[in-house]
């Protein structure tokens, strides 16, 4: 059965007993290799350049596509247009000075990046966090997951021709941005963590605002679910498109929703818990077909689960200090630094010399919205790391794009590229 027939059939999907659209077996939708040679008899392959300035490439990604008619024969991605040399810059900065750089890698979930870096630096230095800080960081991570998935959902729905979910999703994202602004003073470049604590504690207004968000957010998710999940156009454009089997997903080192949509139940929060994730109740959604549709379902459900975690975090948010009680790590309040000799010395030493890390190396992977964000720090005992390596989830996920797209239609390439959920700031770093 050719791909075209599948799409026509899916245009009026039948519903199964549970009222969900009946799914065709993946094998039917998978491209048949001999089809390429059939239509390739004309020998007219076309070279198409997509990007780097193209709304559907989600940033400055450039794809050189070889087409046979409308079928993608080969995709050659070009990245690096946004390369800023963050890892090199990090080698010239103190640990706390690197945190603003982490905002700018995956700029759709800045707070989660801040947390990832701070956790690695703390493991390197052997720092135990305060209970309040731990919960605040969980809140930061889950807020990031929600805004990142909302951007993904909005932009992907636009790519596939649905405009309304984009507005709903961005409205919710705006509410989280307001909360981030309330917490840090910045909407995008939050730099919220410090090694050993947070840049600022949250206010009561923030807690009330987040509680209100948590109560009202699922309504939007249900609306999005109603408008997309059983939508004939959405289903037709996404089911059976860009499928990866579990084995392929592991072999390509995919992570995050991309890996789980392929049926691999791996979530860093569950399998290598950091912060206090092991004490939260949440489920890890896992897909079975590994296509664009399953990635959508996984991400949508992750939003529900993030909301669930946020609710639990708000309930348990303990009092007490947010920073560790070590004056060598944490800057004293400005008022004390100006009036107290000892505080001034600590302030001076931290600003001028930085915090020294012992010789060694640490890798911490956290479950970022895009996948596993790894931070690998190598220290030679000075205040600046010898090597700061970001394991960029969207870079590694994007590397599988040619594999997923080849054999599909050009219009499917847009859907597949969107489903990877890339952010070029992180791909190029």
């Amino acid at each position: 059965m050719s791909k075209r027939t599948v799409e026509l059939e899916l245009a009026t999907p039948g519903l199964d007993a549970q009222g969900r659209p009946a799914r065709l077996p993946l094998a039917a939708a998978a491209p048949e290799p001999e089809r390429l040679s059939e239509s390739g008899a004309s020998g007219e392959h076309m070279l198409i350049n997509l990007g780097p300035q193209h709304p559907a490439t989600h940033g400055v990604l450039r794809l050189v596509v070889e087409l046979d008619g409308e079928t993608v024969v080969r995709v050659i991605p070009h990245v690096g247009y946004l390369h800023s040399g963050f890892e090199k810059l990090g080698e010239y900065r103190h640990y706390n000075q690197i945190i603003p750089l982490t905002d700018r890698t995956d700029y759709l979930s800045p707070m989660a990046n801040n947390v990832g870096f701070a956790l690695a630096a703390e493991r390197l230095m052997g720092i135990e966090l305060t209970p309040r800080c731990t919960v605040l960081r969980v809140i930061a991570c889950e807020m990031s997951r929600i805004i990142s998935h909302m951007v993904w959902l909005g932009t992907t729905s636009i790519d596939l021709g649905a405009f309304t979910p984009f507005l709903w999703a961005f409205q919710e994202r705006e509410r989280i941005y307001n909360l981030q602004e309330m917490w840090t003073g910045a909407r995008l470049t939050t730099s919220v963590t410090r090694v050993g604590g947070m840049m600022a504690d949250v206010t009561d207004d923030f807690v009330a605002g987040l509680r209100q968000f948590v109560d009202t957010y699922p309504k939007t998710l249900h609306e999005i679910d109603r408008v997309l999940t059983r939508n004939a156009v959405w289903v037709g454009r996404t089911q059976g498109v860009g499928a990866m089997t579990a084995q392929e997903a592991i072999n390509y080192s995919l992570s995050g929703p991309m890996l789980r949509a392929s049926g691999v139940p791996y979530d860093v929060r569950k399998d290598r818990p950091y912060l206090d994730y092991d004490s939260y109740e949440f489920d890890v959604p896992v897909g079975e077909h590994g296509d664009v549709y399953d990635r959508y379902l996984v991400r949508l459900e992750e939003c529900h689960q993030s909301n669930r975690i946020l609710r639990q975090a708000l309930e348990r948010l303990p009092g007490g200090p947010v920073n560790v009680a070590d004056p060598r790590l944490i800057l004293p309040p400005k008022s004390r630094a100006m009036s107290d000799m000892e505080a001034m010395i600590y302030h001076f030493k931290q600003v001028m010399e930085g915090v020294k890390a012992p010789v060694g190396e640490a890798y911490v992977g956290i479950e970022n919205p895009k996948g596993e964000l790894g931070t690998y720090l190598v220290s030679d005992g000075t205040a600046k790391p010898v090597r700061w390596r970001i394991r960029p989830p969207s870079f590694i996920n994007l590397a599988a794009l040619p594999k997923m797209a080849e054999g599909h239609l050009l219009s499917d390439l847009i859907a597949i590229n969107a489903s990877v959920d890339i952010v070029m700031g992180e791909v190029d770093r």
Binding site: G43, E44, H45, M46, L47, N49, V64, E66, R74, I76, V79, G80, H83, G85, E87, K88, L89, Y92, R123, L124, G126, E248, I250, N251, Y252, S253, L254, V264, Y266, D271, R272, G360, E361, A362, Y363, G365, E372, G374, Y376, V378, D380, V386, R387, R389, R391, F395, I396, L398, A399, A400, K403, D428, R429
Partner: protein, 205 residues
């Protein structure tokens, strides 16, 4: 200490160097000649099953006496175990290592990045090109410690090169060779393609 290290030592003998622990992770140093075989053993042997390649990267120390380290982070999804494998290379010496792309397709772009940033070449890689820097980038490998933060060339030189860049280099030669485009190429480009040249490096002649 990860028990895999002892099993590795028993199987590969002297190809396995020292093993150290840092912040809860086990790091094992291996000889580069045994790398590919050992990686394949780690991936496929029951009881090891390091089926997931987390990351490939490299580290160069500020201390020039210390060797350049090539770092592989492996993970067994099922056993929830991690192992970090390192290969030591002399910064001034031969920087060629076997590619592990035959084992993990995910290593493709990661090895290209290490090549781009550190100049380590991977033998057997299907498409070893620069990835973050452009193909004709002539300043070297940015993450090496002898590479200055602002680049090797002066800002004026960088601007001059950008302005005089060859627009033909917009597509790589491989891409231009695709199908119908090939016939429209100027004869000298077709000749260079036949010789297997990649990009044209400005100012190299």
């Amino acid at each position: 200490m990860n028990p895999s290290v002892e099993t590795l030592r028993a199987t590969f003998g002297s190809a396995i160097g020292r093993a150290v622990e840092s912040c809860g992770d086990t790091i094992v140093y291996v000889e580069r000649a045994a790398l590919l075989e050992m990686m394949s053993w780690l991936r496929d042997t029951p009881g090891q099953q390091y089926d997931y390649l987390v990351d490939v990267t490299a580290v160069e120390y500020r201390d020039r006496e210390r060797p350049l380290e090539l770092v592989y982070n492996l993970r067994s999804l099922e056993r929830r175990a991690d192992l970090r494998v390192k290969v030591e290379l002399e910064p001034g010496g031969d920087l060629t290592v076997d590619s592990i792309v035959p084992l993990w397709r995910g290593a493709d772009w990661l090895e290209r990045e290490v090549y781009d940033m550190f100049g380590i070449a991977f033998r057997g890689h299907p498409d070893l090109r620069r990835i973050l820097m452009w193909e004709t980038y002539a300043e070297g490998h940015p993450l090496r410690k002898d590479f200055p933060l602002r680049g090797r060339f002066s800002r004026a030189e960088q601007v001059r090169q950008a302005l005089t860049a060859n627009p033909e280099a917009h597509y790589s030669l491989e891409e231009l060779s695709i199908a119908a485009a090939y016939d429209e190429l100027p004869p000298d480009m077709r000749e260079r393609l036949r010789r297997g040249e990649r990009g044209k490096i400005p100012y190299s002649e």
